[in-house]
């Protein structure tokens, strides 16, 4: 029979832990109420059905839109062709009167000549202008006389001072935007990433790197840029990193790489917990929480115990920390009247500020 005395006895009996566990299991026994399970099952089916219905609706709407667009393109194309080749009215009348096709209405075999006659002596239509613009970059890049590979460009850019980038770009036959696109594309491969980022930093500076991270459609490039901003030992890049953390769209990705930084700027982040901007303070707290680890936790505990009233963000960072030390301290704070108020305040702020 279970009792305090035999529950934790330390008599060398290998079954004792098992007995303890069994009793804890017995104390934690809950039943999944059948009515509730059934209600949840129905809820799931309803949700699932609604989602399927929405998906079907979306699919049919996009099909309708696509077919409408195809019809519109077809009619617009036909209208354009009709406009460019107006049938002479006199020929039409003659064919109606004579009952025989006129010489002009006979299909021509000389296709080259016909095409020339379509465009000769008239300005290009809107459609032709768009088509030409769309084809232009490919044609231009094909004709680039002194084309340099993007790897060469990256290594050339990394070895020059910041002001001389225009000359290098011009000599390599790249515009600034095409170089940035190419370098971003190259940075998808981890072997070329550092070189490409060095070159990009020469072209767009640290603020530009953050913008590129936000605009990039490749998650791995976004993450690598965020890591670079965090790992670069400068206030400007750290603030740019924190602005990414502050942005809900990039928060998870930016925080996800925090642990990968070889030397995370813990000291700078602790200083930024007192920044004037609330968003910077919160982002610094979230980053410290994600960096976690006993060192960070110990620094945060020192901070909140030294100045408990002036450390709301440090409390937030501690709430975000995972680990035995943080758990122990928060449990301790929950029992100490001197700390409980600040702890609760931080929890409320957490719920309000960090969704």
């Amino acid at each position: 029979m279970w009792s305090e005395n035999n529950l934790f006895r330390n008599d060398g009996d290998p079954g004792s832990n098992q007995q303890t566990d069994e009793f804890i299991r017995h104390s934690l026994r809950v039943d999944a109420d059948d009515r509730r399970v059934e209600r949840l099952r129905q809820y799931w089916r309803r949700l699932s059905h609604q989602q399927a219905w929405r998906r079907r609706k979306l699919l049919s709407a996009s099909l309708v839109a696509a077919s409408l667009a195809a019809c519109a393109l077809f009619f617009v194309g036909r209208e354009t062709r009709d406009d460019s080749l107006p049938e002479p009215v006199s020929d039409k009348i003659a064919s109606v009167v004579d009952g025989a096709p006129s010489a002009n209405s006979v299909p021509s075999v000389d296709v080259q000549g016909e095409h020339a006659s379509l465009t000769y002596g008239r300005p290009p239509t809107e459609y032709e202008r768009i088509l030409f613009a769309a084809r232009q970059p490919r044609q231009l890049s094909a004709k680039r006389p002194n084309e340099t590979t993007i790897e060469d460009l990256a290594s050339r850019l990394t070895n020059i001072p910041r002001g001389n980038t225009d000359k290098v770009l011009a000599s390599a036959g790249y515009s600034q935007s095409s170089a940035i696109d190419g370098l971003l594309e190259a940075s998808r491969e981890s072997a070329q990433r550092d070189n490409a980022f060095d070159a990009l930093e020469k072209l767009v500076d640290v603020e530009g790197l953050a913008e590129l991270a936000r605009a990039s459609r490749y998650p791995e490039v976004r993450a690598a840029l965020a890591l670079r901003l965090l790992a670069t030992n400068s206030d400007a890049s750290l603030l740019e990193y924190l602005s990414m953390v502050d942005d809900m769209a990039f928060r998870e990705q930016a925080l996800g790489v925090a642990k990968q930084a070889a030397k995370p700027p813990i000291g700078q982040l602790l200083v930024l917990l007192d920044d004037q901007e609330k968003s910077v303070r919160l982002a610094a707290a979230m980053t410290l929480g994600r960096l976690n680890g006993p060192d960070v936790t110990r620094l945060l505990i020192d901070r909140v115990t030294d100045q408990p009233s002036n450390s709301t963000e440090a409390w937030l960072a501690l709430l975000a920390c995972r680990g035995e030390l943080a758990d122990e301290f928060l449990a301790y704070a929950g029992r100490r009247p001197q700390l409980l108020g600040y702890y609760n305040n931080a929890r409320v702020l957490w719920a309000q500020s960090i969704p």
Binding site: L7, N10, H26, R29
Partner: protein, 171 residues
Amino acid sequence: MSRPIDRHLVDQLVVEHLPVALRVAKRLVGNADSAEDVMQDALCRVLRHWKSYRGEAAFSTWMMQIVVNVAREHRRRSHEIHELTCDLAPVVTTDPLERLTVVELSEKVRAALDDLPDRQREFAMLRFGEDLPAREIATILQISEANVHSCVHLVRKRIAKTIGVDYVERE
């Protein structure tokens, strides 16, 4: 990467694991009504994110991870302390004194578990409540397996301390 699971299979698996998930939610938030709310939120998330499931862990582990996260958020939001109410298994004894002893002891153990820090409490509910293996608990709580093993001793030690007996770690 190809999608390893199709929509109908998700339906089946969710329905199959609902009772376990509800039990876990009930233990984590302390009462049945909140547990049902948590489960509804969790089901919404499952429906929103099922495509992100890549089959790296068992579906039940993935779903339990969502339930634990939602329960955690629920506890943070509510700012209430819910004491765990459990349905004790019938005590196999005719002696009313023994029965009373077991009930009292169970209450003490539950109180000790309620006093644990959040992370250890979650661990205890999964380890002792559902008897999940260490690897699965590590995946659900995103901690290392070594941490799981050390948590077992920590929880036993705390319960022993609350009950007022000495506990010495044994292997």
